[in-house]
C-alpha cells in the first residue's frame, strides 16, 4: 500500500494546557482536509502516541480553516511545571504527528 506522511498534506503546531497537550493540524487544502477527516481519526492518533503514555484523545473539527484539534489527556507526564521530560510543554508532539504515515490518496498523483 502506498503511504504518505501527514506532513505531505498538512502542517501542525502543538502546545500544553496543564497536563493536557493539544495538536492543531491544518490541511493544505480542502481535499487534504477530507482525507485527514477519514484517516487521521482520534483513535489513529491515540494508537500512534501510545508509547508516550497518553490518556484519551478527542478530535475536534474546524472545517472552516481545514483544521483539526487533537486534545490529549495525560500527555505530558505531569505538565510544564512538574514533568521531568525535556519537552515538558509538548512542543515536539506536532512534529512527531506529522511523521505518522497514512494511506496515500489514490486520486493524488503527487502523493506516493
Amino acid at each position: 500500500m502506498n503511504t504518505i506522511a501527514v506532513a505531505d498534506i498538512a502542517h501542525a503546531r502543538s502546545g500544553d494546557k496543564g497536563n493536557r497537550a493539544n495538536i492543531g493540524v491544518v490541511a493544505f487544502d480542502g481535499p487534504a482536509y477530507l482525507w485527514l477527516k477519514e484517516y487521521l481519526t482520534g483513535q489513529v492518533v491515540h494508537e500512534y502516541f501510545q508509547s508516550i503514555g497518553i490518556g484519551t484523545v478527542v478530535r475536534y473539527e474546524l472545517p472552516n480553516i481545514h483544521a483539526f484539534n487533537f486534545v490529549m489527556d495525560e500527555a505530558l507526564a505531569g505538565g510544564a511545571s512538574r514533568s521531568l521530560r525535556l519537552d515538558t510543554q509538548g512542543k515536539a508532539l506536532a512534529s512527531a504527528l506529522l511523521e505518522l504515515r497514512l494511506p496515500a490518496p489514490t486520486h493524488d498523483k503527487e502523493a506516493s
Binding site: 506532513a7 502542517h11 501542525a12 503546531r13 502546545g15 500544553d16 494546557k17 496543564g18 497536563n19 493536557r20 493539544n22 492543531g24 493540524v25 491544518v26 500512534y48 502516541f49 508509547s51 508516550i52 503514555g53 475536534y60 473539527e61 474546524l62 472545517p63 472552516n64 480553516i65 481545514h66 483544521a67 483539526f68 484539534n69 486534545v71 489527556d73 505531569g78 505538565g79 510544564a80 511545571s81 512538574r82 521531568l84 521530560r85 525535556l86 519537552d87 515538558t88 510543554q89 515536539a92 508532539l93 512534529s95 512527531a96 511523521e99
Partner: protein, 454 residues
Amino acid sequence: MSRSIRIGNGAGFWGDNLDAPVALARDGGLDYLTLEYLAELTLAILSHIRLKDPSAGYINDFPELLARLQPILADQPNLKIVTNAGGLNPTSCALRCSPFLSDSVIGVVTGDDVLSRIPDWLQQGVLLNHLETGEPLPHELADRFMSASVYLGGVPIARALSQGARVVITGRVADASLTLGPALHEFAWSRDDFDRLAGATVAGHVIECGAQATGGLWHHWDQLDDLAGIGYPIAEVLESGNSIITKSVGSGGTVEVGTIAEQLVYEIDDPTRYRTPDVDVDLTSLQLHQLGRDRVEITDCRGVAPGDSLKVACVYRDGFTASGLVAVVGRNAEAKARAAGQIVLDRVKRAGFDLADALVECLGAGDVVPGLLRPENPPREVVLRVTVRDSRKAAVERFCREIAPLVTAGPPGIAGYASGRPSPKPSFGYWPCLIPRTFITPRVEVRPASEWKL
C-alpha cells in the same frame, strides 16, 4: 470602512525577543503595544521569586523595556501599552515603571491574586476540584499553594484606559484580554455584543504568542526572508469586530492564511467553545481571507455569553528538581548513555537516597517524544539527560554530584561536563480550578506616574 485600531503584540512569553517590542513600537504605526508574559509556568517562577522578596514577583524585563521605549513614547504621544507584566505584583511593577513614564498615567489592574482567600473558601465548602481531572483539592496541598491567580478579562483593562491610563499593568488576565480591553475601550461595545467581543478575542488569541502568527514555527521556514528580523504581529481590529492580522513593512516572516490557521488551533480545547472571562468564542464559524501580502482578514466570529465561573491557576511547591547533561559518543552510544544514566541513579541510591522520581533520556535516540522518532541507524552521538525530583533538597544535591564522576568512571566516550555541576531548583505543581464569578471584583487604580511612588 469602519474605524479600526492597530494593536501590536511584542512579547509572547517571558524570555521572548528583547528587541521585538522596540521594533514593533517604532515601525508598526500602533495605537496599542501589548506585551504578554505569563505562561502557566511563569506563575510558578514568579511565586518563587516573590517568596524571597515580597516586593518582587513581576516581570522585571518590562521596566527595562520601558526605559528603551521612552524616546518612542515621546515621538508617538498616542501610543499606549497594555501588559500583564504585573505578574503576582502589579503594584510593585508600576512603582518600578514610574521613573520611565514621567508625563504619563499608569493604570493597574488587580484583584486576580486570590491566594489569601483560598483557606476561607475551603472552610466554606467551596469546591476547588482540579479542572482536568475533577479530583477534589487535598487540604495538605492547598497549604502548599504559593500563588492562586484568577484569570480576569478585558473589562478592567478598558476601564483603566477610559480613566486616562497610557500604560496598563495587570496581573493574570486571559491572554486575549490584552487585545479585547483596548477594543472595548475604543469602540464602547456593549458587554453583551458577543460577536464583536469574539472578534477582538480571536484577534487577541492570534497575536498573543508573538511571532507564532507571523512565520515562527512555519513549515516553510527555509523559504522565509530574515527570520532573525521576524516582525511581530499586528491586529487591526475594526469596529465591526472583524480584524486584519499583519506585521510591520520590511520585517521578516510571513502572514498567511496558514500561519493564522495554525495559531488559531494553538493551545485550545473545544474550538466551538474557546472560553474567556468575557465571551465564549466559536472558532468554527470564522473565515480567513488573504487580502494581500502579509494581510489576513478574520471575519464571521461568533460568540456567546461566558459561563458563571472563572478559572483560577494555582501553583504549589513540590520539592526540588535537577537535570544533568553529558554527551556520549562512539559505537553503542545509546547503550552507553542509558547505562551511564542508570549508574548515576544507582549511585544516589547507594548514598541512601531513594529518589521519588527520576528519568533517563537519550536525546538523539528518539527520547524527546519517547519511542516515536527513533533514528534510522544507530546514533554515534547522543546526549544523556538525567532528571530527578524529590522533596528532600539533600537528595537532589547528591544527585547533582553524581554526574561528574561519569567522566572517569563511566563507559568510554563521555564528554561535555565542562559546563559545570547542575544545582537543585524548586519544583512546582499546577492546580487549575474554577470559582464562581461573583467571588471576584477586579480593582482598577489609575494615577499619574509620579504618584506611583513608595
